[in-house]
């Protein structure tokens, strides 16, 4: 086994251990405090608005597949979709989903159908949304515009793998005067979201939907596990800086080269 492979196993085992440990620790606590994220507060508010007004939430899941590096962003979007359906069980019209990837489209339909069956939303079992609106970045963005412009859509949530084409979606939402919550894993698109969405999700906030929308203990435990690993990374970075400053790196290199 290579050093990279060994490191990978260590990281996975560390994360699994931390997540299980924190879920056991958190089980005994009455409430777990997480820092407030405005975008998730907005989602909760918009779910209530859609229930009261009889409107729909639109969730666009991006154009990431499930076999590449973009898959986690797509899965995070599907988790959010499931949470929104669970939370809007009293709503006349469950959320409408749009995607730019065929596999994600099938998974979105499956999620809507499965959650709707559990919540006895009969109509959605027959006609689950989860439209594939286009397969290229621009065709996806343009195809999604008609859903955003639908008068029955009260808010738009864009979570998944997007490029700069997300500007089309966020500005269309703004023109409709409907709140736009957006998050993506692509760095250039994150700056676009920050400038154009009313409630942006920056960096790892995209993956925290389950913890903030009450998906379960393991979701909050994964946030705690991320914090622990983040501190480990901070100490490793600071340690390596000190190593370089005091010349320990050359000392270790000499030992490894056998010159001492």
């Amino acid at each position: 086994m290579s050093a990279t492979g060994f490191t990978g196993i260590v990281v996975v085992v560390l994360f699994v251990g931390l997540m299980i440990s924190f879920s056991i620790i958190n089980n005994n606590r009455k409430s777990i405090h997480v820092r407030p994220i405005a975008a998730y507060e907005k989602i909760k508010k918009e779910i209530n608005v859609s229930v009261e007004d009889g409107t729909q939430l639109h969730i666009s899941l991006g154009r990431g597949g499930i076999t590449g590096p973009e898959s986690a962003a797509g899965l995070a979007g599907l988790i959010l979709l499931k949470q929104v359906i669970d939370k809007s069980s009293m709503c006349d019209h469950p959320p409408v989903a749009s995607t730019g990837n065929a596999v994600l489209s099938i998974l979105a339909q499956d999620t809507i159908r499965g959650s709707s069956q559990a919540l006895n939303l009969a109509d959605q079992q027959k006609n689950p949304s989860g439209e594939l609106t286009g397969v290229t970045p621009f065709s996806y963005a343009v195809g999604t515009l008609t859903t955003i412009r639908d008068d029955n859509v009260s808010a738009n949530i864009h979570t998944g793998w997007f490029g700069n084409e997300i500007i089309w979606l966020t500005t269309a939402g703004e023109r409709q005067s409907s709140p736009t919550i957006a998050g993506t894993a692509q760095l250039p698109a994150q700056s676009v979201i920050y400038a154009s969405a009313s409630d942006p999700l920056i960096g790892e906030e995209l993956y925290a939907s389950g913890a903030y929308l009450g998906a379960g203990k393991l979701h909050k435990a994964s946030i705690s596990a991320q914090d622990v690993v983040r501190w480990i990374i901070v100490f490793l970075i600071l340690g390596s800086i000190l190593f370089n400053l005091f010349g320990f790196n050359t000392f270790i290199e000499d030992i490894l080269a056998g010159s001492l």
Binding site: S2, G5, G8, V12, V16, M19, G65, I66, T67, A72, L75, I79, K82, A102, V103, S105, I106, L107, D110, T111, R113, G114, Q117, A118, G130, E131, L132, T133, V135, F138, T146, R149, N164, E165, I167, W168, T170, T171, L187, Q190, V192, Y194, A195, S196, S198, G203, E204, L206, Y207, A208, G210, G216, L218, H219, S222, I223, Q226, V229, R230, I233
Partner: protein, 214 residues
């Protein structure tokens, strides 16, 4: 009742395949199994594209039936889809008859219709991005938005390549911004995204998140 039968099977398949693919990254002897599973996944994704296009056509046929203001666009989409499909089938038949790849009409469609449309959309995107950058202070007047706005201005002013328009001092500032705070911030964001990606993957492998069948 249906979901109760399907859910454990799909969960077991997802977890099993996920664990084998993950192990294949770390253990070289499992690499061949990982490749077989990934290749199968890619074939299934191609089939899913076909299903997705049928879904796309079905959705737009329903939209035409509703007689909404956007039904005209749905009609254009369906006609374009049909023409592209006929062109593709014709080219495939010619390839079969000639005995060598012959996709002239398909290439013509992509070069003369698809490419110009996507290029013009890219141009509109540039204008939309400029509009968004200009409107950020109107949307959110706080310290971060102000610094975002002025950094954009500084980087743009320092990026001129015409000799008469270049400001050497601003070019130095631009280079420093791109090399130090922008790069550092980007790495910080990427680390956060990597941590989020790992925990999302582990939750799927543990069966806590099941984005298949609810």
């Amino acid at each position: 009742m249906n979901i109760k039968v399907k859910a454990p099977i799909s969960t077991a398949v997802a977890i099993g395949v996920g664990v084998i693919v993950l192990a294949g990254y770390f253990i070289p002897s499992m690499d061949s199994i990982r490749f077989i599973l990934l290749r199968t996944g890619l074939v299934l994704a191609a089939v899913a594209l076909l299903v997705g296009i049928i879904n796309l056509a079905t959705v737009h046929i329903k939209k035409i039936g509703k007689e909404s203001e956007n039904s005209g666009y749905s009609l254009i989409l369906l006609i374009s889809l049909l023409i592209t499909l006929i062109v593709g089938i014709t080219d495939m038949a010619q390839t079969y008859l000639v005995g060598r790849p012959n996709f002239q009409i398909t290439n013509w469609v992509f070069t003369n219709i698809q490419l110009p449309i996507e290029t013009s959309l890219l141009a509109v995107t540039t204008i939309s991005l400029t509009y968004a950058a200009a409107g950020i202070l109107r949307k959110r007047m706080n310290m971060f938005s102000i610094s975002f706005f002025f950094v954009v201005l500084l980087v743009l002013l320092g990026s001129f390549s015409i000799p008469s328009a270049t400001i050497p001092f601003l070019q130095v500032i631009r280079d420093w911004i791109l090399r130090v705070p922008a790069l550092g911030g980007a790495r910080g964001l990427l680390l956060g995204i990597a941590l989020g990606t790992i925990t999302t993957g582990i939750r799927v492998l543990l069966g806590t998140d099941r984005p298949y069948g609810g």
